[in-house]
């Protein structure tokens, strides 16, 4: 009985037929032994079977983990695949496109908002959702969790933030009386046009890939 229940659950969870028989036989053997142990402890057969099936909380995830292990995917660091590679793709495409615009001599447009002038590369900002989407999609393909997909999509913004922190901190260390301390509006403008707006554009592209891949994922 336990073997039938197990086979049914594994089949629904998508274990390939090629592996199914051997895996089912092995796991059924385990559950049979466990079931016998529970019965020996005084449980009824039905209670023991129910308790055995609780060995796995999420059968879909279990099936995926088995497949990954059998394919040897864990040998490649999961983080590299679902975070760093997609993140680097987002970063490379975003910086590459900006460099291309500057190389062809594209001039940033000056936009005045409430008397404050912002210099923006519109084509770059408009393309960022695509780059963010690419990073989040690649992370999604590599089974990245929602938070990892988001970081992969927003990777260039994180890189800009890190760069700004490094530059500002080192400026303060070298010259405590730096320009931006006296002109916080200048700093705010920089943060808005080079951090907030790009992050927002990247987020627009990333959002569609933040839906749970697995209906049980919360």
């Amino acid at each position: 009985m336990i073997k039938t229940l197990l086979r049914e659950r594994l089949r629904r969870s998508g274990i390939p037929a090629a592996h199914e028989e051997q895996v089912t036989a092995e796991l059924a053997g385990h559950l049979e032994d466990l079931c016998e142990q529970f019965v020996a402890q005084g449980l009824s057969q039905a209670e023991a079977v129910q308790l055995c099936l609780k060995e796995v909380d999420d059968w879909s995830e279990f099936a995926r983990n088995i497949q990954r292990a059998q394919r040897g995917e864990a040998l490649m660091n999961t983080r590299i695949k679902n975070l760093w590679l997609p993140g680097c793709v987002t970063l490379a495409t975003a910086t590459g496109f900006l460099a291309l615009l500057q190389h062809i001599g594209w001039q940033p447009s000056t936009v005045s908002i409430g008397g404050v002038a912002l210099r923006l590369y519109w084509p770059w900002l408009l393309a960022l959702p695509l780059f963010g989407a690419a990073g989040a999609y690649l992370s999604c393909l590599a089974d990245g969790s929602r938070s990892v997909r988001m970081v992969a999509g927003l990777f260039p913004a994180a890189a800009i933030l890190l760069l700004m922190v490094i530059v500002l901190t080192s400026s303060l260390l070298v010259e405590p009386d730096v320009y931006f301390l006296h002109h916080p509006d200048f700093l705010a403008l920089g943060l808005f046009s080079w951090l907030f707006l790009p992050a927002l554009a990247l987020l627009v592209g990333t959002l569609p890939f933040l839906r749970p891949a697995n209906p049980r994922e919360t």
Partner: protein, 114 residues
Amino acid sequence: MTKERIRPKIARGSAELAILTLLDEQPLYGFEIARQIEDKSGGALHFTLASLYPMLYELEKRGWVKGHWEANQAGRDRRYYCLTPTGKKELTPLRREWRSFFQALDSLAGVGRV
């Protein structure tokens, strides 16, 4: 005394060592591996079906353990795992790493003196 479960991440990290150490003594099948680990760790380490088999298949894919079908004492076919020469080679540095890790924790937090 309240029996405390070791936090899942540490348990997962030490799981490889636990499995390889057991298999270094004798070939065992999955249920026996889980049972012996739980018994020998005083219940602190607990393997479920979901946590044990992906790890066994991963170790097999790495070539550290090898599975084969064989009848157990009750005459039922079970998949026994044994340590390969590669697995034996990997076990020594793994043991050393964990020993250093616990020694470091001990000197840092006095874990062993509590």
